[in-house]
């Protein structure tokens, strides 16, 4: 079958790979009908997460049709249209029982790497390096989905492929940021990053009753989407005084909840950017934490900061003093998709959650390297490139 493969740092190509096989009795094989670029992939492509092998298949946000089912699968049959959580979870360990699905104890076949780096190993993910299990990704004609009864969800007839596919990763990630960040009625919420993840976090905050939601980015096309589709306010960090505006728009208190949806390749207009980039290139820090720093500084006393952006290792100039003295709660996580997807599909069916506008570029899988180029360089107002195998 055809698949998009990582061939080396900043090198992608569509190649031919063997069709995936059922490996465990709880597996299904899905014929992929839509598969999406995610900001997380950029960290892999750029070599910031150095656990890739030549030939690895990328992709973790997808939807498709079930074509084969293992003997232990109860919830799915061939022909079902399913959307799949990007993280793989067993559904029965203590973490899954706490609904912290991306922390599952049994979903990563290579726990040694992350356990050594971080002390404990999170679960596995599709198409996300050998540190996350080395699972073949979704930018392919077919994909094997383990623990399918837990991670694959049948899409209601009333929800289109175009909309449902984003339940797989960006919408569930965004929802998690607002939910576990503790957003509720009366809150002022600030979101850094207007990619699909930040936009979905902002939409979740609106739906959870926040009083004011403000999204920060520099890309006007994305901020325009936020105003039109999310129903939130925007700030441009290249022209607005972010700290001052956030203070003013929250009555001098600072936002109650700050959600960071930028990640380790954050950009900054100030001198700290050159500093962070140089340190990252010299491997003195692995990540550029610009937006996390700003979020912690802006947050009201006793407020909460949720880190959705992906970080791999160590950062420099982390504002520990602000965190401690302002009594903040800082939390982060890889997405607990299984926790949110059924609810998200319901909201999609009711038109509360509209996502299809995120797919600014839809193209055949054969053009995926070009799709990643425009997504990475944010060319042609690209927000998400969607591949149709």
């Amino acid at each position: 079958m055809k698949a998009l493969q990582w061939q080396g740092i900043n090198k992608l190509a569509v190649g031919t790979v063997p069709d995936p096989e059922l490996r465990n009795p709880g597996d299904i094989i899905v014929k992929v009908t839509r598969t999406v670029t995610c900001g997380s992939d950029l960290h892999l492509i750029g070599g910031y997460i150095p656990f890739m092998e030549k030939g690895d298949v990328l992709g973790h946000e997808f939807l498709g049709e079930v074509v084969e089912v293992g003997p232990d699968v109860r919830n799915h049959r061939a022909g079902d249209r399913v959307v799949v959580s990007s993280f793989i979870s067993c559904g029965s360990c203590w973490y899954c029982d706490q609904r912290l699905f991306s922390l599952c104890d049994n979903g990563n076949t290579n726990p040694a790497i992350t356990e050594t780096m971080w002390g404990q190993a999170p679960s596995g993910c599709f198409g996300y390096s050998h540190a996350m299990g080395g699972n073949a990704g979704s930018h392919a004609e077919y994909i094997r989905v383990p623990f399918a009864d837990v991670g694959a969800f049948t899409v209601p007839d009333t929800v289109s492929d175009e909309r449902a596919v984003f339940a797989s990763d960006s919408a569930s990630t965004g929802w998690m940021g607002a939910d576990l960040g503790g957003v509720g009625p009366g809150d002022v919420v600030a979101v850094w990053g207007a990619g699909a993840v930040g936009q979905m976090a902002a939409r979740a905050a609106v739906l959870l009753g926040a009083d004011r939601v403000i999204v920060i980015d520099r890309l006007e096309n994305r901020l325009d989407q936020v105003r039109r589709h999310v129903g939130a306010e925007t700030l441009n960090y290249e022209s607005d005084d972010i700290a001052g505006e956030l203070r003013e728009r929250s009555g001098g208190r600072g936002p109650d909840v700050c959600i960071e949806a930028v990640g380790m390749e954050a950009h900054s207009p100030g001198p700290q950017f050159a500093y962070d980039q140089l340190k990252q290139q010299l491997r003195l820090q692995t990540d550029r934490p610009v937006a996390v720093r700003d979020a912690i500084h802006a947050c009201r006393k006793g407020g909460s900061v949720f880190v959705l952006g992906v970080y791999a290792g160590f950062v420099d100039k982390f504002p520990l003093g602000a965190l401690m003295n302002k009594g903040l709660t800082v939390r982060g996580a890889q997405m607990h998709g299984q926790r949110y997807i059924p609810m998200l599909l319901e909201r999609m069916a009711k038109n509360e959650l509209v996502t299809e506008y995120l797919a600014t570029h839809v193209m055949p899988l054969g053009e995926a390297p070009e799709g990643y180029r425009i997504f990475k360089e944010k060319k042609d107002d690209c927000v998400r490139a969607v591949f149709v195998p």
Partner: protein, 141 residues
């Protein structure tokens, strides 16, 4: 391509190899003061018996010291293993056995990597492939 890209082109593979080697190396080191490997399995103590443990642990159970204890707060059962002095059984075997047996007890299965493989072996990724070939043996457990 940005400047970042070029620099990483040089640094990246080197770092990848180094990181994989570090994981491998650290995984092998055994702290002298530590004698036990412990996992918590999300099953109540009353359901488990040392002689009835399934999977890879059953293959070594009579050659290591196994003890079971209830974990606090309803978290299940702690399975602790001590390798007797002079035993040929390695820390890696014990880690793998504990992880596989936990998965069997909790999920009824042990996840296999996806396949057939789509990757090719290169001098750059060989250290990483060595680590992932023993994915459940390393780590800190």
């Amino acid at each position: 391509m940005s400047r970042t890209g070029k620099v990483l082109l040089i640094a990246g593979p080197f770092v990848a190899g180094a990181a994989a080697v570090a994981v491998g190396r650290r995984a092998k080191r055994r702290t002298p003061a530590r004698h036990r490997h412990v996992v918590t399995v999300y099953r109540p103590l009353v359901e488990l018996e040392v002689t009835q443990l399934p999977g890879s642990l059953s293959e070594i159970v009579d050659r290591v010291e196994v003890s079971l204890a209830a974990a606090p707060g309803g978290r299940g059962t702690e399975i602790a293993i001590r390798i007797p002095d002079g035993s040929p059984i390695t820390d890696g075997e014990v880690r793998r056995a504990l992880r596989e047996t936990r998965s069997l007890l909790e999920a009824g299965d042990v996840l296999l990597p996806s396949g057939p493989p789509t990757t090719v072996s290169t001098p750059l990724n060989r250290p990483l492939q060595k680590v992932t070939a023993h994915g459940r043996e390393g780590g800190l457990l």
